[in-house]
Symmetry: C2
Subunit: 211 residues, 2 copies
DNA sequence: CGCAACATACCAAACGGTCGGTATGTGTCA
DNA sequence: TGACACATACCGACCGTTTGGTATGTTGCG
């Protein structure tokens, strides 16, 4: 029983630990508020390792946003809300799922790329664009279900699936801002209830219809 | 024709210039990304003046949030959306007004206290609380019109005026996040259209009803 | 005079980033 | 098989600059 030979020279795990540290520290303290030394300490690596893997702090920011895109898309793909056969039920289940995962520490359920984009949109366009790719890549996955629901139910809409998918993201991002300001996750959940009610309205559903 | 004597020993205008610089720079670069030197340069004052007026950089952050609360509440009080006699019309006019002022440079129409709270909610509770006061002080002004509209129209609601006022703020804050990520104000306006549609639904209004 | 409103010069710490070096593979060809 | 060339991963001392903050004036006005 031989150990598998490592062909591709295993992408160092210092790199991964730094990306995880970036995810956690930036969500709690912001990008500018997190120093390279902070990141190295949290990841338990040296500064040499940091600049071996990333050309600059800004490059780490871009990589962190890409890392976020990868890990969250895997997370949402594996999530239970894809179960229902009816596409509208999947959309409502998505909203319910987003509401359900809002709990515990604020830094643990809020969005890295939303925080990051808000902070550096003007000073670091590379990071901003990586955040946009992550955010709108995610809304695109919801868009398909919304469009399918619209067609299946023959809804004549003066809105597009794309805009409703983006509006859903708007409510989620805004909910995080209010939760942070008030230091209370309940405010975020509250807005997701309004979003749920709005979507049911657009599809002529009663409030009682189960998701 | 004598010059008006200044009685109240005019709260130094270096202080005001610093607060204005803080408002503009923090919206563009974030709080941690804006240095005391940056602020002094933009306000054309020296560091001595800065620390004469503010005990620390964090104290300036609190003062900037308070300054934002004062100036925006004056701005919204003077805004035209208070005109309509019907309270619901005032609410819809508010949403239309918020949409109308989204134009030009992103840093010019986005919200200081939203940005600030998102960045420092965990590391500077004093600033966060000042942001919360500004934000929820503003939503409270909308809440009155929403509640009046609900009573005037005899709406039996499973939501409160308070929560709808906060949801409105949620959509506005989230709209700013998406506009920054995509570098496009149009995305912010788009979500305000969804919000308008939602409010009309809650009050059983047709889409055509004029605001 | 006395005090508020500044200006100037300075400081220690923290910052992002560089650099010479080591340890450990890995591919290749005689 | 072994040895040479080269690559990757990482270390930690060090560098120049910027940081938030302080100490000590100076100025002008009631």
């Amino acid at each position: 029983m031989s150990r598998p030979t490592k062909h591709a020279p295993e992408r160092g795990n210092a790199r991964t630990r730094l990306l995880e540290a970036a995810r956690d520290l930036i969500r709690a303290k912001g990008f500018a508020g997190t120093s390279v030394d902070d990141l190295c300490k949290a990841a338990d690596v040296t500064k040499g390792a940091f600049f071996h893997h990333f050309a600059s702090k800004e490059a780490l920011g871009v990589a962190a946003a890409d890392f976020w895109a990868e890990t969250t898309s895997a997370f949402f793909e594996a999530a239970p809300y894809h179960g229902p056969a009816d596409p509208l039920d999947r959309v409502l289940a998505y909203v319910a799922f987003r509401k359900a995962i809002i709990e515990g520490e604020i830094a643990e359920f809020t969005c890295l790329v939303g925080t990051l984009a808000q902070e550096v949109y003007a000073s670091a366009p590379g990071i901003r664009d990586a955040c946009a790719r992550s955010m709108f890549g995610h809304t695109a996955t919801l868009e398909a279900d919304i469009e399918a629901a619209r067609q299946a139910r023959g809804i004549k809409a003066d809105w597009t699936a794309e805009s409703l998918a983006r509006h859903t993201q708007t409510v989620i991002q805004g909910a995080f801002v209010l939760a942070k300001a008030a230091n209370d996750p309940a405010l975020a959940r509250e807005s997701l209830d309004h979003l749920d009610r709005y979507i049911r309205h657009l599809f002529h559903l009663t409030r009682e219809h189960a998701a």
